[in-house]
Chain length 342, copies 2
């Protein structure tokens, strides 16, 4: 059984197609009595307007694409939830595109989204050193907002986390606690975000007169497992290079997932957190508050970021001018239980 069309409604209501259209879109020109007749007819037929047909003629899809690198990191679902919420309120529908941090996949996804004629795109994170091919060709005509993709922050309205300063604060916090041998568990080498956090770490070290040492930086992949492996590597290096009298006493991890994994790794190797080793994370994902010990971390207001991003996008699509098109969020230190004084 085919779905009823506007024609069916018109026939049943005894009016023309255009009247039905106007009535259903609640245009003021339609007499309210006919409006009612039309609504009744529509209801009787269980008529649902075909958004596809509408899009074709209005030339707007009211679809937005949300491009994220990894749904397994709670950070992104949190952003997605924020985007989704305001999108719904604004009568947009969101298409999910998961790139798995793969440039090829990302390009493919963008292509699909463009063919679907999304009105706009929200790019959240996952930027890698190589990936900037996609826009020039395809994406010039639609609305775009980027979240935490520093390399595009000056080409598009952007929401950025001040990763460098956040990382600097985190590191400085550790230093204030008396730590002198502080390691950094980074994300993948080509991740911009991770590079910025690395910069902040180095900066804090330098300004405090503590040298930067390459052997104290180890690369993970933003997953808990990656954090665990990184910690194991770190502690084995610690034994090899540093000697027993100057062990690593604090670790700054580039995200909470790795920080949690790292805490686990530390325990596996007989270290107690924070007594033997302090750990600080980044993001403040939900579970951070309830792990043992509760994770001290640099909080980032994920939900708000998602909401803000979608809000900005909607304004762009409405051709409104953005009073702010370069929003920078400052991560905030949340002291919990995973760091202690030396």
């Amino acid at each position: 059984m085919k779905a009823p069309t506007i024609k069916d409604v018109a026939r049943l209501a005894g009016v023309s197609v255009s009247t039905v259209s106007a009535a259903l879109n609640d245009k003021p020109i339609v007499k309210s009595s006919t409006k009612q007749r039309v609504q009744e007819a529509a209801a009787k037929l269980n008529y649902r307007p075909n958004a596809i047909a509408r899009s074709l003629v209005t030339n707007e899809s009211r679809l937005v694409g949300l491009v994220v690198p990894d749904m397994a990191d709670p950070y992104f679902p949190a952003i997605a939830a924020g985007v989704d919420e305001v999108a719904g309120r604004l009568r947009y529908t969101v298409i999910l595109a998961n790139t798995l941090r793969d440039a090829k996949r990302e390009a493919e996804q963008i292509k699909v989204l463009m063919e679907r004629r999304v009105d706009g795109l929200v790019f959240a994170g996952g930027s890698t050193a190589g990936a900037r091919g996609w826009l020039g060709s395809a994406a010039s005509s639609i609305g775009i907002v980027v979240i935490d993709r520093p390399e595009f922050a000056f080409s598009y309205p952007s929401i950025t986390i001040d990763n460098e300063r956040g990382a600097e604060k985190a590191t400085r916090y550790l230093i204030q606690l008396g730590h002198e041998t502080i390691a950094f568990v980074s994300g993948p080498v080509d991740s911009y975000v991770s590079q910025e956090r690395l910069q902040g770490y180095r900066l804090a070290l330098r300004e405090s007169g503590l040298g930067y040492r390459e052997e104290l930086v180890v690369h993970g992949d933003f997953t808990p497992r990656g954090g665990l492996v990184a910690m194991e590597e770190l502690l084995s290096r610690s034994d090899r290079y540093l000697g027993v009298d100057a062990p690593v006493t604090a670790v700054f991890a580039a995200n909470d997932q790795m920080a949690i994994g790292a805490m686990h790794g530390a325990r596996l190797l007989g270290k107690e957190v924070p007594r033997d080793i302090s750990i600080i994370g980044f993001d403040d994902i939900d579970v951070a508050a309830v792990v043992e010990p509760p994770l001290t971390t640099m909080a980032v207001p994920t939900q708000d970021i998602g909401k803000t991003a979608m809000g900005m996008l909607a304004k762009c699509l409405n051709k409104e001018v953005l009073e702010q098109d370069r929003i920078v969020f400052q991560p905030q230190l949340i002291e919990r239980g995973s760091c202690a004084a030396r």
Copy 2:
């Protein structure tokens, strides 16, 4: 600047619109030399076929809706990732619909999805006792697969977790460990899934000759915070009703998020896990393996579930018959460190 249409390509290639269509869709009737000319023209114009127009005529959107209750619970993003992966491979695009466990919102979302003419829907979890209104009217004509919505498992192809047996196993495990006062941290009262898990818990208790006691069941909301609060409530009840000589020594939580929150709550009240109190969860989300102590839980193969669901849906949409339209996954006990013998 408007996007080029098939007409532009036709003009540039010096052929007709229908030839372009055939060429681009790689139909064998087109001479390969013209095919090439067309492709070149398309490339030069940077032509992207308009999926909306295509959908209108082919009457298929290649869109599928994914309806989930809560993106903040890692369980659902994991399913989403699975769905997304095979959807992409099959050239479907997925629309995300987050209901926030709100029946009204769910109904609204479904409406939108139907208007967008999604080819199919996968409903993942979040079923509540009241919510079965949506199908009769709207959703009879499209493909539907349900994940863990027992109330629909016989109306649609379904993927179900054997919640009752899983819960029974979990409880039995605790009993084998020598526990006699075992509490259950449930989900919201109206959650089917949670009710099934409660049944399993009761069954195990009964079959082991341990009585079911209402004061040992406390309702959470599937969040870590909810688990924490539930645990506090539980321990305060424990003091009030049970007396010091028969305290709660084990807790089965209806999902991992609450289990992790509960562990935290226990610690806050001076209990050590698992020495003073054992805790078992359900789902096996990523972080479960790295919290302290690592969470013993009933594992559910989330990614696979997502993949399987999307696979089934695709088959339905192809009018293939499903060799299996009622798939039941058995949760598997993963022994880690959060449970100990009495």
